[in-house]
Amino acid sequence: MIKNIVIGGEAGQGLKTTAAILGKALFKNGFNLHTSMDFMSRIRGGHNFGRIRFGDEEIRGPQEEIDLLVALNEETITRHVEKLAKDGAVLYDEAVSAVENSIVVPAEEIASEVNPKAVNTVYVGSILKAFGINLDCARSVVEDYFDAESVISDNLKLLNRGYEKGETIFKAPEPKSRTGEQIYLNGNEATALGALAGGINYYSAYPMSPSTGIMSYIAGKQDEMNVVVEQAEDELAAINMAIGASYGGIRTMSGTSGGGLALMNEAIGLAGLTETPLVVANVQRPGPATGLPTRTSQGDLLFAVNSAQGEFPLLITASRNQENAFYQTFRALNLADKYQLPVILMSDQFLADSSTNVPDFELQNLEIERNLIAAEDMGPDEEYRRYEFTEDGISPRAFPGQLKKQTVLADSDEHDEKGHIVEAADKRRRMVDKRARKLDRLIEDDLAEPEYFGPENIDYLLVGWGSTYGPLREAQSRLNEEDIKAGYLSFTDVWPLPTTGLEKLADNEVELIDVENNSQAQFARLIRQETGIEVEHRILKYDGRPFRGEEIFRRITEEVIQ
């Protein structure tokens, strides 16, 4: 059983705190859950809401139908009531005549007697009561969430009051299906943790929604994790700082959203030409220009693929969910070091701001591989050459000061093996070929083929990349339930495009359906460019909102299968 709660209100009403406390309390109760946020780009007013889906089955994304609508203001009711399930309920501070089940909790009045600022905790109590979930877990969350003793005690009081005033109208799902140790976190936190586990010592960025969460999480761990966080004056500086620190010998990362990636573009080429390892997280939002700052999109794919002028090896990989974001980030740092190239790590607002429970990270299999030259690899009279020609194009890498009596020269002009500027035609050609060989090696040894989900024999193949994974898995299951033979191919590495898995599945009998959060079917275009395969059907969404599994299922049945 899965239940869906929507909590709506104005910006500034503390929605984020409410969702965070409630989500964590449900998590601690042992449920699976998925919490996603829908924010306007403003600090006060407007309409914001959070969706919390929880239950005893696997949950991979948001859903449309609402079981419990929690209204912090009246507008929430008018906006969402039409999505209320038949036996759904509304929780509000006065009776709502339009719906059958109305839970009345005068939260403001209750809070005013204790601490008016903590009004939302009243709702948390009443929501848990609505499902008959006891308060123990919520109490421990409140104790962890706030610092001051008096604030904690006020919130605990209000949690109880909310519980007392509320009423139980749903049967709660049984929290029994979760196996093993789990953690509850959002995509930005998972990316930040992957970076920390990957041993970064430097993170430079400029705040830009929806990527800022990565920087703020790492900034909070600077001392514990031995990281310098530099809030640069803009993205140009941020990426060049990261390149400087990486050239200087330490692991670095930067993060931004599309507009920032546009500013960073020239320097991505600098990392490419100087062969400086660099990982940049691009947490997409709808562009171009300022676009929709707090909403979601997969519109930067071809822009990222075509980063910077000229030609150089580049890896683009996308995280499919919160768990994957952790491991992808870790892997991206290793691959950047191994192949000495820039890696763009694609995420988006949907993944970044949504929280879910995932299996505790398995740290024992993670090995940081810097791939630096060892002192004993140098001959006694050998002069170090930063861009030494090798069979696979990967030159032994040293950083300044690493090798005794050796200097390291990196150049953004075309250069010879030692890093000195050259213009000779043959030298240029050899250097271009050397850099290109690195990518050949990467494709051979490290490129990740897409993962396939579905039955062996299929009529339809859904293809998607990155964070649409959750909704697509749900849609594919729904199709199978309706006896529609559909499989799903989930890409993480998108550039260079891995083609083997796709070419194997995409035979003439199978109809391909591209599902993407953009308006130009960019991934389908990339597939055609790289394989000649034409993806005939497109399910596109570009209103700034994430897909829901049910929505993909419905659109496929309406638009593809007639």
């Binding site: 953690i183 010592n201 994790m225 600098l270 200097t407 990196a410």
Partner: protein, 344 residues
């Protein structure tokens, strides 16, 4: 200055030469700055592997090819952030940024302000020739109003005052040099390297090909004619250059690889009104000269009391990240598991 100067040095300027060329024009001021730089680092006895030269784009940036050192040639206007990253990775090295007037004060002006605010421990050499040499002689942000280009183009907006901006924005060592005054320049470079903070050294460096003509305010002749002496410094190895009973008082002393260096002013007695540690006075005096089109050469301002940027991250006991074994730089699995507790 003692005659046995430099006798303890293991390095001579030749040790910093490369067999690569920046392909500068004959008589280029930039080449003379490179020469002074080699002289300065040899007098400080700095091994090439201890130097890190971050270069911008333009004729100035190309000089990195002629300096045997660690180095990275960056993007136009972006040398400052690259230097910031590499300096924080390893403050043990001596970081020198070489840029030009366009790279610093046109395309790089935003980066410049941000850098100056940080007091990064770095010597910033701005090779100012008042023109865009590599693109064949256009107006630069430092081109003076009455100074036509070789092609007759005249700037009708006032030039950027790099020295003034550096002083008000946070540089803690601000000096003006001239490529044709080698001795002065060598001392200014040495002082800037030893200084613990951001040293901004703007060097008047005439472009023989595009900006050395009659009427130019950036020609050798113009600068010779308009130069005025300002506080001159010398930077010397205390043990090697002075007899042990010397009573000379050093304004500032520095330690570099076990050697003590002293910075002293050579001519302050000739300018009793001036105090290079007084920011307001330095600014006021500079602005007066600026208006009168006089080119003061010397160390205009110095403040050794400010924290350098990396001292905000590193304590005195800390080893710099790039000097640690990789294992020491990353969290243990146990430590990492503790931060995951927050999510459990």
């Amino acid at each position: 200055m003692s005659e046995n100067r430099g006798s303890k040095n293991k390095y001579s300027p030749v040790d910093y030469e490369t067999n690569s060329s920046a392909n500068l024009c004959p008589g280029c001021g930039h080449a003379l700055i490179t020469r002074a730089l080699r002289q300065a680092v040899s007098e400080l006895n700095l091994p090439p592997e201890k130097l890190n030269v971050v270069a911008g784009i333009g004729c100035s940036g190309k000089t990195v090819a002629e300096i045997k050192a660690n180095g990275i040639h960056t993007l136009h206007g972006c040398a400052a952030p690259v230097a910031m990253g590499s300096q924080v990775a390893n403050p043990d090295q001596e970081h020198i940024l070489i840029s030009g007037d366009g790279d610093s004060w046109a395309i790089g002006s935003g980066k410049m302000i941000a850098l100056l605010r940080t007091n990064l421990d770095l010597l910033y050499i701005c090779e100012n020739n008042g023109t865009y040499g590599l693109t064949r002689g256009q107006l630069s942000p430092t081109t003076k109003i009455d100074s036509p280009t070789r092609w007759g183009m005249v700037s009708d907006i006032p030039p950027v005052d790099g020295i003034g901006i550096a002083m008000v924005t946070g540089a803690t060592y601000v000096a003006r040099g001239f490529s044709a005054r080698q001795e002065l320049l060598v001392e200014q470079i040495k002082g800037g390297i030893l200084h613990d903070g951001l040293a901004y050294l703007e060097v008047f460096s005439p472009c023989r090909t595009f900006n050395d003509h009659e009427g130019s305010h950036h020609s050798y002749k113009y600068c010779q004619r308009h130069a005025a002496d300002f506080p001159k410094i010398s930077v010397n190895d205390i043990e090697a250059d002075y007899p042990s009973d010397s009573e000379l008082e050093h304004e500032f002393t520095y330690e570099e690889d076990g050697r003590q260096f002293g910075l002293e002013f050579d001519n302050l007695d000739e300018m009793p009104e001036y105090d290079p540690t007084d920011l307001n006075l330095a600014l006021k005096t500079w602005e007066d000269y600026w208006t009168e089109q006089i080119i003061p050469l010397g160390l205009l301002y110095i403040d050794e009391s400010q924290k350098a940027h990396h001292e905000r991250f590193y304590s005195e006991e800390d080893d710099y990240i790039a000097t640690l074994e990789p294992e020491e730089t990353r969290p243990s699995r146990e430590d990492f598991s503790i931060i995951l507790d927050q999510f459990r």
